[in-house]
């Protein structure tokens, strides 16, 4: 573990902010347990992915500047999402070309110290286990950006392995997308629904009673489909379980 308490800025992400505040509080709890001093900068909104992936580089760049200015002063920026984390750590530098070396440098500096939550806990803070209990059989979905852009695969499984009462089941085709894809899910709903139906089938086949993942987009998508099919699977962000905060909110898509 690091000797001093690093100053960590939490980038909440717009979906956690709007849809699932408990994930934000769970992230704070986990980061503090790992020895971080956590702050939540007031001036944050969205990492800019909707614009970036719609081809609107200008807006993406404007939003990136906001984020860079706000988060650069901290030791680390931590994001409870592989996709928003990847946006900052892998895509921001490419938004600024040689005509803007100042921001390019700043973007690179921020990219180098931005991490997805779970991998930050294990890889940077050296967290080995969590103090949590969850009585259930859990399937974990690897979100695509986390898996392929950030190489997050074993980290959540390792921490989940330390949760008392929890049994982990693996999905078949665990590297296959759930069909969310940001605006894709509403631009091409037929294909998206087909993909998430396949995923829901795989989830049900594991026999798990709970589905976890590290990205709200995928979670809303999979929860929505499982609900529509009437499948009795509880869906949650992995941080809620790791932080032992499942009492704080009903599963995603369930009434309180």
């Amino acid at each position: 573990m690091l000797q001093t308490r690093p100053r960590v800025a939490l980038f909440v992400t717009c979906l956690v902010d709007l849809y699932r505040p408990t994930v934000g509080f769970a992230a704070i709890k986990l980061l503090e347990a790992a020895g971080c001093q956590v702050e939540v900068p007031e001036a944050q909104t969205c990492c800019g992915q909707p614009a970036y992936n719609s081809g609107d580089r200008t807006t993406a760049r404007d939003l990136a500047r906001n984020v860079i200015d706000t988060f650069l002063p901290y030791d680390y920026t931590v994001v409870p999402s592989g996709s928003c984390g990847g946006q900052i750590s892998h895509h921001y530098p490419g938004l600024f070309d040689d005509s803007d070396p100042h921001y390019r440098g700043r973007a690179e500096a921020l990219a180098a110290k931005t991490h997805e939550l779970v991998s930050f806990l294990t890889d940077v803070m050296g967290m080995q286990e969590v103090a949590a209990r969850y009585d259930g059989v859990v399937a974990y979905h690897d979100s695509c950006s986390g898996l392929r852009e950030l190489g997050i695969r074993e980290q959540p499984r390792k921490l989940l392995g330390s949760v008392q009462g929890l049994t982990l089941k693996e999905l078949v085709d665990r590297d296959v997308c759930c069909g969310f894809g940001g605006t894709f899910c509403v631009k091409y709903p037929d294909i998206s629904v087909r993909m998430v139906s396949d995923k829901a089938k795989d989830v049900v086949e594991t026999g798990a009673d709970t589905l976890l993942a590290g990205d709200m987009g995928c979670l809303l998508n999979m929860a929505g489909r499982l609900k529509r099919e009437g499948a009795p699977v509880k869906v949650r962000h992995v941080a809620e379980v790791l932080a032992d905060m499942t009492q704080d909110a009903a599963p995603i898509g369930e009434p309180k």
Binding site: D56, D175, C177, S192
Partner: protein
């Protein structure tokens, strides 16, 4: 010629999703391709390193493309071959027709070639009284059925055994009604019987090329059926069709890429037949053509050099990207509406037919990145698709509603205080609507979402930022 239906991608996709026969055929993707590739890759510890080598060979060649093409052409001519430089599809079609006419050709045999589909060679020859005969098993059945390929290495991947049987019974009128077609071998035997005489009667053989080797002037094709060999060695005249980015500097480079190609495509260590053609039959050679023509086609490639899309020219057409693409897996290849389907098509098709017509393709991706992770030459396909979205946005081809929504959202996202106020209100309203429900079955403006899934309601109690601020005020 493949009729362009990319503008109707959405409708094509909907039809494909509702087609049980197609879905049955597509379900073979996993057993046929995934496991085999994974096993082949696992069996070669240096595969990752080989991918870097493959990428570097291609990058080096593309950076010196003129040079290697000239060296290649000189060596072809040294071996008695002729190189025809064609900058457009029209020119290439005319050259092929002229060679066939000079040879007095009535029928030509053909090996599987995607560039031939791109050029529409078959229609052109037929229109001028020359009969093209596809000799690849998949292409053969598609020719009977008058269908375009749906996959770049398994052209008839969309068909099931029943479809083959039906087509044979319809087209091969002399077929014994008692013949059974239960095995792949039965199908193969039937096609081979018909093709044998065609091979012998052909005046010209047309093939594609997987690689062109500059230092030797050779063209290389790989097949698993051996039909390519017969196509290029039996007739008097051999025409190899190849786009300019197929060239590689040396024989060794080609070998490195061949090792990547077979493993990525079918999970084989090497294809069953790998054939090198160098020039014409020399004295003492047992076989080989009297004339060897290479039609070198640009057709839009050189415009890609020096642009964001140059990396696409590394493609060695292995099909791993489509085999691992969940969108391709759901819709099949025909939905993409042109010659090249899947992720590689989503990048290539807009460059070749225009993004105004093929704009759906780079948009119909979740950017899951599985394609890039299996591409043997490490083409960043999602990034290139994003570049197309950027071109669309710049040219105002992005649909108006998306632009408006984006602009509205961006205005707030750039102003945290205003954003906070409006999201607090919006989430409050959504929370009220969804109170006690947990999820919405239907919501206005969210029809795309709610048609096939519920929309989970936001967690009650307001946004994170509001709750966090409140907790801070109360000293936590």
């Amino acid at each position: 010629m493949v009729h362009l239906t990319s503008p109707a991608f959405k409708e094509n996709a909907a039809r494909a999703l509702a087609d049980p026969g197609l879905q049955k055929a597509l379900a073979r993707t996993k057993p046929q391709f995934h496991g085999k590739r994974a096993k082949a890759v696992a069996g070669l510890p240096e595969f990752e390193q080989l991918r870097n080598i493959g990428r570097d060979i291609k990058n080096h060649t593309l950076a010196n493309l003129d040079h290697y093409l000239e060296v290649y052409a000189a060596n072809v001519e040294k071996a008695g071959g002729v190189v025809h430089w064609c900058s457009t599809a029209d020119e290439a079609r005319a050259v092929v027709l002229e060679i066939c006419r000079q040879a007095g050709a009535k029928t030509v045999t053909k090996g599987k070639s995607m560039i031939s589909e791109e050029l529409g060679i078959n229609d052109h020859l037929e229109a001028h009284g020359i009969t093209p005969v596809e000799t690849d098993l998949g292409e053969y059945i598609l020719q009977l059925r008058k269908e375009p390929p749906s996959h770049i290495i398994g052209p008839a991947f969309h068909l099931n055994r029943e479809d083959w049987e039906q087509s044979f019974r319809e087209s091969h009128t002399d077929l014994d009604p008692k013949r059974v077609f239960t095995e792949r071998r039965d199908i193969l035997t039937e096609a081979r019987t018909k093709l044998r005489s065609r091979f012998l009667a052909a005046d010209v053989g047309i093939t594609g090329a997987n690689f062109l080797i500059a230092e030797t002037g050779s063209s290389v094709i790989v097949t698993n059926e051996g039909n390519g060999d017969l196509t290029q060695t039996l007739p008097k005249v051999h025409i190899a069709l190849a786009s300019i980015e197929k060239v590689v500097p040396t024989l060794e480079d080609a070998t490195s890429l061949l090792r990547l190609l077979a493993r990525s495509a079918t999970g084989q260590d090497f294809s069953v037949y790998t054939t090198f053609s160098t020039g014409i039959r020399r004295q003492g050679d047992l076989d080989g053509p009297e004339q060897y023509h290479v039609v070198l086609i640009d057709n839009g490639r050189s415009n890609m050099i020096g642009t964001d899309f140059q990396e696409m020219l590394r493609c060695i057409r292995c099909a791993a990207c489509m085999n691992h693409c969940p969108v391709y897996g759901a819709t099949g290849g025909h939905a993409y509406g042109w010659v090249y389907p899947g992720p590689m098509g989503s990048v290539l098709t807009p460059t070749l037919v225009g993004v105004d017509k093929a704009g759906h393709l780079p948009n119909a991706s979740t950017f899951c990145g599985r394609c890039e992770s299996v591409c043997p030459v490490k083409i960043p396909l999602p990034k290139l698709m994003r570049h197309w979205r950027e071109r669309e946005f710049e040219r105002h081809l992005t649909p108006g509603t998306i632009r408006t929504n984006l602009r509205l959202w961006a205005w707030f996202a750039k102003r945290p205080a205003a954003y906070r106020a409006v999201t607090r209100m919006g989430i409050g309203a959504l929370g009220l609507l969804g109170r006690g429900k947990g999820a919405f079955k239907w919501l206005p403006f969210a029809e795309g979402w709610t048609r096939g899934r519920d929309l989970p309601a936001p967690e009650p109690g307001g946004t994170f930022m509001a709750r966090y601020a409140k907790a801070r005020r109360q000293g936590r």
